[in-house]
Symmetry: none
Subunit: 190 residues, 4 copies
């Protein structure tokens, strides 16, 4: 009995998810160019050929992993808010950022890896900007409403701080005092 169109779609969806997950883990652990497609196939228990059924090439694979990841974590924020964020919302935003970081360490490793690699970065740049710009605007509005001078510089500084803290936590998750640091950040920007 042939499978229905629906069933096929399910299988495809599951396989695609499996491949992305497996690849994410390996990319984060070994790096992009040190992870052969064959290693992904092996760890996922599928054939190399199957990966090429779903992704046109290795770059497409990492590109789609990145885009999905960006979508996922950006959906947590409500980037369409145009009015200024409240204090409570700001605090919630900082909390969420750290929570997401802790729970998706692999993705964030990959994120920073990719940021440093011009070739892959190009694949993601547009999408990233699409989210980042309204996000910086929202922060800027918040700082303006709180009476900070040069609010856009504050917004970019906070963005940079979150990058720097994430980076340090990723490189050394054991001894980096992330919770203490979260408090300091909230103190300084609330």
């Amino acid at each position: 009995m042939p499978r229905t169109e629906e069933q096929y779609k399910d299988i495809r969806g599951q396989k695609i998810a499996l491949i992305k997950e497996t690849a994410l883990g390996l990319f984060a652990e070994k790096g992009f160019s040190s992870t052969p497609i064959s290693a992904i196939a092996k760890k996922a228990g599928i054939s190399k050929g199957l990966i090429y059924n779903y992704f046109t090439n290795k770059e497409d694979l990492i590109g789609k992993i990145m885009l999905e990841g960006i979508d996922e974590f950006m959906s947590v924020y409500d980037p369409k808010t145009e009015e200024a964020i409240s204090e409570a919302k700001f605090k919630y935003f900082i909390d969420q950022t750290f929570e997401i970081l802790k729970q998706n360490l692999d993705f964030w490793k990959l994120y920073f890896l990719v940021m440093m690699q011009p070739e892959v970065m190009k694949l993601v740049e547009n999408k990233l900007m699409e989210y980042l710009l309204p996000f910086l605007d929202a922060l800027s509005n918040y700082f303006e409403s709180r009476g900070f001078e040069n609010p856009m510089a504050h917004a970019r500084l906070l963005g940079a701080i979150l990058d720097g803290v994430s980076l340090n936590y990723i490189v050394d998750p054991v001894s980096f005092p992330i919770d203490d640091i979260k408090k300091l950040i909230i103190d300084k920007f609330l």
Copy 2:
């Protein structure tokens, strides 16, 4: 009649410097594994083989570039100070950090690239820690003397901030408002 040992040393020194410089530029631009040794040789106007006269392999090359870079910029600070840093010195330190960043963009690109690559990171880790730990201690002492609570967290936060700011500046040197941000940092930590 062979050249004197002195002459040979000169030649070696010049070639080694040329190779390191060229490699640094290419690594920073294309990434480590996307830069073939042949590309370095070509750009430096020498043969592939010559690179292997001076460096045992590609990893040795990047390792030595990193170590030299770390030595160079660390020599700017006086990491042996044990008494607390003065306000003026602290300000000078922040200034210097930004100055060095601006003047060695390629090296810092490579630095962040390497931080994300476990294999290469291992080659440099020890040397880095040798400098970073006394450095964090000095910062911590400064914060303690200024009456900040949890001074070590403050030190690590400042370290992370400098990482994050550098990273943002490296990725987008044109529009990142680095001078405004320097002022904000000094305000917040003085």
Copy 3:
């Protein structure tokens, strides 16, 4: 629709045999290190890469050729006989040795080549000893039963003679009087 496991196994088996055969011929003719993998691939009409699908590296290839060869020719003898060999059996053994030598000249060339190369020898040493020791024991028993004094020395001498004769025949198969020499050996040791 993928091929059945059976079909894949067939393909693999055939290709592995083809590669081994081709490599044996070239190794015997040119020597191990003077035979590039590319030459084997070319002569076998396949790509370099395919060889690495079946053998982890060049040493693995020669190692497996040697092991297979040793297994093959040792299966001719019955190394598990524990009682003394009869005269007829001894004669048959000498005959067989010369027959095998004549029919597998390439393999024996390679065998002596390998004996002289410490690196490759190590790959095969254990397997070889596994066969050679019982074999020398059997010969020793034979000489003892025939009343020869110092039977183990006789066994090792005979082993050495077979090596020496093989070597001379390999180097100069045209003019070396191998059949006459076989008779002399049988006369001297019967």
Copy 4:
């Protein structure tokens, strides 16, 4: 004060000898193609370039080592004897053969290595035959005078035996019972 022609010749002679000796040791230990010229230079404490002052290339070097070795050990025998060898002389010859083998293990390792490598063998073949043929003739005469039938086959057999015994001793000098075996050979051919 410039050196006299004589002194230069001395230096040349000493350096040539040093290079040959050093190369022989390394070739025997590692094999011909696994021994870089640079390794010879390093071990001899001279420069690579100097080796090329005395030998046109690597093959020339091994060729000259082989030729010198052959000359040296052949001078022990008196290959110009045309009358049949006496029993005493035969015994002395066997003794000498084993003595020389024991004292020049490195050379003999190289000798067998070279015999298996067609390219290098060609360089030596003629010289070798120049010695070997009269040598086999002398042996043949000896066997004829002692009433052995098919004396040339006996001569070639003895040659092969000496090869085989040497080979076994070279591969495993510790446990091969070379002295017992010498006695057996003398018994069988006297």
